[in-house]
């Protein structure tokens, strides 16, 4: 659980608002009577940081965390009355980060004690999202035992998958709390987060930098990276494309675009378009030359083409 909550803190620090983060937690251990630190969850044994804290928005918890709801969330197949905050309202301009953790095995991830999602099911759902244009790019991270098997069936374009461990390998915990008697955070997740700590909102670090930082001896398993038909070189994909909220901004060229509009479209009484048509002019010169379009467009400034980030963080079972 600390895995997910620590991820939540990181993406939130990088400015992704709660309504673009969907958190699924299988159990409310923060408020579990067996938790001696009521309302708190820690990700290190020194209890430096309460990752649960006060400002947290968990969208799905307990019994709501099922394979069915997870698939519904990704495909947006809901009843009409399901609120906006529980939905993934992404489009073909959105970058989606999907982080899963829990008990996994060869080609499956457990949900609660009763159910599991298979690698093929997950690949199908991602395919469906691609068909409908529900993401521009998708980064899928999974930290479970034998995690790399979960992305083995995914061959959708523009999807990057990262797993913590190969087949027949376990994913190990980073630190165990002696008093609580449980492991707190996994090595793979914790090393990712440690790296992400140096990432700021306008950081230039790329996914290639993040992946290069993986050290199998430190993680104690072999992380895997997989993508087919990804449009960019990973060394050109900023981490903030997925973990941040950068957007395409048009400022300078806006002034040029606005010039083409009539001075006033706001009116008090007379219809705005009628008022305007008097001032508008058409030149009656039969053109002989082709028009240089660049001269109309003026200079263009695009700060960065990056879409809205959406993040889905899921934990399907309690700490291993």
């Amino acid at each position: 659980m600390a895995n997910v909550l620590s991820f939540y803190r990181t993406v939130k620090r990088l400015d992704i608002p709660d309504d673009q983060i969907i958190v699924m937690l299988s159990d409310d251990i923060a408020c579990n009577p067996r938790n001696p630190y009521v309302g708190s969850v820690f990700n290190d044994h020194e209890h430096n940081l309460d990752v649960y804290g006060e400002e947290i928005e968990v969208d799905y918890r307990g019994n709501e965390v099922t394979v069915e709801n997870f698939i519904r969330l990704l495909t947006d197949r809901w009843d009409e009355d399901v609120p906006r905050s529980k939905r993934l309202l992404s489009d073909d301009n959105s970058n989606v980060l999907l982080y899963l953790t829990g008990h996994g095995g060869n080609d499956f991830l457990k949900f609660q004690d009763a159910d599991d999602i298979g690698a093929q099911d997950l690949a199908d759902v991602i395919d469906e999202m691609y068909y409908k244009g529900r993401f521009n790019e998708l980064l899928f991270m999974i930290d479970t035992c034998e995690a790399n098997t979960m992305y083995s069936k995914i061959n959708t374009p523009n999807v990057i998958s990262v797993g913590s461990s190969m087949i027949d390998e376990s994913s190990y915990a980073n630190s165990t709390d002696e008093r609580l008697g449980v492991a707190l955070i996994d090595r793979f997740t914790s090393l990712n987060l440690k790296y992400l700590e140096q990432v700021t909102k306008d950081s230039k670090l790329t996914l290639a930098d993040l992946f290069d930082s993986y050290n199998p001896s430190e993680i104690m398993s072999h992380p895997g990276i997989h993508f087919e038909d990804f449009r960019d070189d990973l060394s050109e994909v900023p981490i903030t494309d997925f973990f941040g909220n950068r957007q395409t901004v048009v400022a300078e060229s806006l002034d040029v675009i606005l010039e083409v509009f009539p001075e006033e479209i706001a009116t008090d009484g007379t219809p705005w378009y009628a008022e305007d048509s008097i001032s508008s002019e058409l030149n009656f010169i039969i053109p002989k030359k082709t028009v240089d379009k660049d001269s109309i467009k003026g200079s263009k400034h695009n700060a960065k083409v990056a879409a809205y980030g959406f993040v889905i963080l899921c934990l399907f079972f309690l700490i291993k």
Binding site: K12, R87, E128, K201, D202, A251, L254, K293, A303
Partner: protein, 464 residues
């Protein structure tokens, strides 16, 4: 027949009855979609969509001016590869025409706009003598008035909101300070009524359904580092998503318009309008610092800007300004064309996605309603395509929005969840515990009967 044979036979019959029930209960209900029709539409959407505009050119000055225009324009438009636009030229100005052009003889060549969509072209006798028919009317139409429909080069795709039949506008006043809180106010609803309502009504009637919400947020600190002169590279982090609550409960697309009032001067580098736009998200304007009360008249300037930004976000294209600015009424009509064509393409993409889904995932249930929805959607698409061909944009807009809604409803039907319905392993897992023991008992009973009958036969033989 002996009694034990009867018993085994009847149990077998009961068991055989189970098999159709088993098949029925594990069968995934799958309606068959009209593949061919969807593929045909997909083909249509890959090429430029055929659409027409109706223009009237009167022949008061020169007889058969309209016919000459029609022939000339057809010849020019045939060469256009990027668009499939046709002009229907009438000789009488009726309400069905998008644009009316009147001609008259005077001293010099000029064009005078009359009213919303009518133009008066004045010719000098010299140009009538020296030029051939239709005297430049075709050029005014193709290179001037309709240039945005013909040259898709001037679209701001990165800004334009994808097709949606309805959009929610949120106007927010963000005040950097906030003490004391009750001093900050704006007469936004009066301002919208006065300055934006006519435009919103136009949009609602002809293009997209618009709903409006407003809010005031205090203590709004910006997301990037605060400076007096904000550099453009900082703007992508200007919005403080973590702290400003800019979302709403509606489930359809939202556009935001933010008036940001800083506590001390703050301007954008190199941008005289002091405003910027975020792709598919909305527009932001930096207001005068420390201003706490905005009366209706103060908001006129901002409503004016937000209105223009809204039109840009909806995809209003730049006309070729070397030929002057076409009136807004004409540009609005063209906006309806872009959005409708975009909507038709989006709807066809959804239907195609649904088709891929049904052909790729054999396990996913396809309820009969989904087929019904896709059929309605395709009927409406056909109507919209036809309306576009005959320049009936109003009907095209309404049919496209219905087609879009039905296609979305079909794709997002909540019953179409493959895994949750009945995964393959569950089919066996549920029924084997029930059927396997029964089959074992029945088969072994038959075997015993067979053995018994063999023994009886031998006994008969021996006694003979």
């Amino acid at each position: 027949m002996k009694r034990d044979t009867q018993i085994v036979l009847s149990s077998t019959l009961w068991l055989l009855l189970l098999i159709p029930i088993y098949y029925h209960t594990i069968r995934v209900p799958r309606a068959t979609l009209d593949d061919e029709r969807i593929l045909k539409l997909t083909d249509i959407s890959r090429k430029p969509i055929n659409h027409s505009v109706r223009v009237a050119v009167d022949d008061e000055m020169v007889p058969q001016m309209a016919q000459a225009c029609q022939i000339h324009i057809n010849r020019v438009m045939e060469k256009e590869r990027n668009t499939n636009l046709h002009f229907i030229i009438d000789s009488e100005c009726t309400s069905a025409a998008d644009v009316c052009i009147h001609t008259t003889l005077t001293e010099e060549d000029t064009i005078i706009p009359m009213g919303e969509t009518e133009f008066l072209m004045e010719y000098s006798p010299v140009s009538i003598v020296s030029r051939r028919q239709p005297y430049g009317v075709e050029s005014i139409l193709i290179n001037g008035i309709y240039s945005p429909l013909i040259n898709p080069g001037n679209v701001h795709n990165e800004l334009t909101l994808s097709y949606t039949p309805r959009v929610h506008l949120i106007f927010s006043l963000l005040y950097e300070g906030g003490d004391p809180p009750d001093q900050v106010s704006w007469e936004i609803s009066e301002a919208i009524d006065a300055y934006l309502a006519p435009m919103l009504k136009q949009l609602r009637d002809n293009i997209v359904d618009v709903t409006v919400e407003t809010q005031v947020i205090l203590h709004a600190k910006i997301g990037c580092k605060r400076r007096t002169i904000l550099h453009l590279s900082q703007l992508s982090n200007f919005i403080n998503f973590a702290e400003w609550s800019l979302s709403s409960s509606v489930t359809y697309p939202i556009l935001n318009f933010v008036l940001y009032v800083p506590e001390s001067p703050m301007i954008l580098d190199n941008t005289p309008s002091n405003s910027f736009m975020i792709s598919r998200w909305g527009g932001i304007k930096l207001g005068k610092p420390m201003k706490t009360t905005f009366y209706k008249e103060d908001l006129r300037e901002y409503m004016n800007l937000f209105g223009k930004q809204l039109l840009i976000l909806l995809g209003m294209r730049e006309p070729d300004i070397t030929h002057g600015k076409p009136p807004m009424a004409v540009r609005m009509k063209q906006l309806a064309y872009f959005r409708t064509i975009d909507g038709i393409k989006t709807t066809i993409r959804s239907l195609h996605a649904l088709l891929l889904l049904t052909s790729d995932f054999k396990n996913i249930p396809i309820p009969a309603e989904v087929k019904e929805y896709t059929d309605i959607s395709m009927d409406r698409l056909d109507m919209a395509l036809l309306s576009l061909e005959v320049a009936d944009i109003k009907s095209a807009v309404s049919n496209t929005s219905i087609a879009f809604d039905y296609a979305e409803r079909a794709f997002f039907d909540k019953r179409m969840i493959a895994q949750a319905y009945l995964p393959d392993e569950h089919k066996m897992a549920v029924y084997i515990p029930l059927m396997a023991p029964l089959f074992i008992v029945v088969i072994s009973a038959w075997y015993r009967l067979y053995k018994k009958s063999k023994v009886n036969n031998t006994e008969v033989l021996i006694t003979k």
